[in-house]
Amino acid sequence: MNAIPFGVGAAIFVGVYLLAMLGIGYLARRARRSDSLDDFYLAGKGLGTFVLFLTLYATQYSGNALLGYPGETYRLGFAWIMSVGFMMAIIAVYLLFAPRLHRLAKQFNYVTPGDWIDHRFGSPALTLVANLVMVVAVSNYLLAQLMAMGHVVAGLSGNAVPYWVGVVLLTLVIGIYETMGGMRAVAWTDCVQGLMLLVGLLGVLIAAAPGPDHLRAATEWIITQQPQKAAVPSWQLCSTWMSTLLLIGFSGSVYPQAIQRIYAARDVPTLKCSLSLMAFMPLLTMLVVFLVGILAIQHFAGLQGVAADQVMPMLLREWANQSLWMYLIALLVFTGILAAIMSTADSVLLSLSSILAKDFVGKTLLRHAPEQRLTQAGKLLSWVIMVILITIALVPRITLWGLTELKMEILVQVSPVFVLGILWLRLTARAALVGLLAGSALGMSLTLAGYGKLWGLHAGLLGWGLNLVLCLTLSYLPVIQAKRAVSPRPEIG
């Protein structure tokens, strides 16, 4: 990675940012109303519009959006405009199930995604399998964020701050403010981090803003020199484009941390306003990143393969060396990237700890324990998760890094349980379970066998198709229909 000539001033800037995060965690702790699970994991289901919108935004857009997507644009060319659409697809899928799920969550005091599954289907087996799928998917996602924190800090500082210090220090900061304030701390810090991400994007826009002639010249150059990156996409690529819209739309909307934000919204107007705003954020975020990648095709011509991932660091170094003004912009973009990674990591960690505490420990070891005890167990589990993932992140040989590619492929298999389960009361627990298992098995086995895509369609989407067919057909079978479960537990929460 390309080192940026950041000095003491930059270190102080980042230090102040990290201290501010801890301060917010302390304020969130003082604002708590009780030690209940609802208060710790969902901020008492009282998030207002401003906080809900920014926490949704900061959580949905990880560091990958700023660091990885310019490289994707560089490699694929103009067809990466699909990234604007697939982030919008997530919001469209929300509209299928979020209104009812929010209403039910308020009525029946759901805390975890598993509470909904348990309540709707009354099947411990389905709840367990769905939880396992979500835990595996988001654990990999969290690991990827922790490793990204280390790489960003080490790479951009020219190893002045070693990789392990980046991983351990930033994870510690997240762990401390999250343990102090739970969802309030995460959501409040997300506000600051979301704003920093927006400021970083603004910095990118100012530094790289193309005039009409500049953009036209870059496009003409690409059409002449690398025509495959500007050509109308082939049928195969259009097929992948459609597959990506469906895969990201249905998996991104059922991330546990996303589901819990639907629960945590104060009321319907709050959720409506936040989702309305979120519909426009891909235009402000992905489009800027897309344009940066397009301009880089000409500016840094000749990068091959993974070297294209260095587009943003190379730009930051270039800007930082130009003038004091551009140095400040590079610093803002750098902290924006850091904020984007941390805001995703803290939300995922909190969600993971809530699932483990309530749906696993709370149903086994602490089956009859009071909520206060479960909240304490959740805090402890957060630290256990952090220690395990830090260990894996620091020893790359035993990483699960390769599995992160499977994240969306398996997470999408849970979506029928939420979307179809909400919309179609005939869906049975057994049909949902068989569909989930068969879809996950097909998606994972095809991917691991090297068939990540068939006819341009992602393996996970093919598994999802099988999952849906099984959900629909098995729900109509008489023997299963007799046992269909709209038979919730007597008490939730």
Binding site: G44, K45, G46, L47, G48, F78, I81, M82, V84, G85, M88, A89, I91, A92, L95, L96, F97, P99, R100, R103, L104, K106, Q107, H119, R120, P210, P212, D213, H214, R216, A218, T219, I223, A230, A231, V232, P233, W235, C238, W241, M242, L245, R266, D267, V268, K272, L275, S276, A279, F280, P282, L283, L287, I422, L423, L425, V486, S487, P488, P490
Partner: protein, 104 residues
């Protein structure tokens, strides 16, 4: 197992019924909204454009990118319209009224 009263309440909530029995309006209840989404997302993928011709430049970008982007802007505007026009809910239960003064 839950009693009949709770099951009735659960089904009502799941199906979008207010306590009065009036149906709550929401996007999932209108099929044409999803047809429009399919058309807009379909238009955002340039499968219908000839693949052999050289791209023309509109607004500094290849023409098919501008067409795709226009459809995507349409999706954002349509989503905001649907959320504000076709998602109307009953008042929250009285037990939640104390959340209203939350400063968050």
């Amino acid at each position: 197992m839950m009693d009949a009263k709770e099951e009735s309440r659960w089904l009502s909530q799941a199906e979008g019924l207010e306590p009065t029995g009036r149906v709550v309006d929401e996007p999932a209840r209108r099929w044409w909204i999803w047809l429009v989404y399919v058309l807009l997302f379909g238009a955002s993928i340039p499968w219908y454009l000839p693949q052999s011709s050289l791209p023309r430049i509109w607004l500094g970008l290849p023409h098919w990118v501008v067409i795709s982007l226009t459809a995507t802007i349409g999706i954002a505007l349509f989503t905001a319209f649907v959320v504000n026009r076709y998602w109307r809910e009953a008042e929250p239960p009285a037990s939640l009224a104390d959340k209203e003064d939350n400063p968050l």
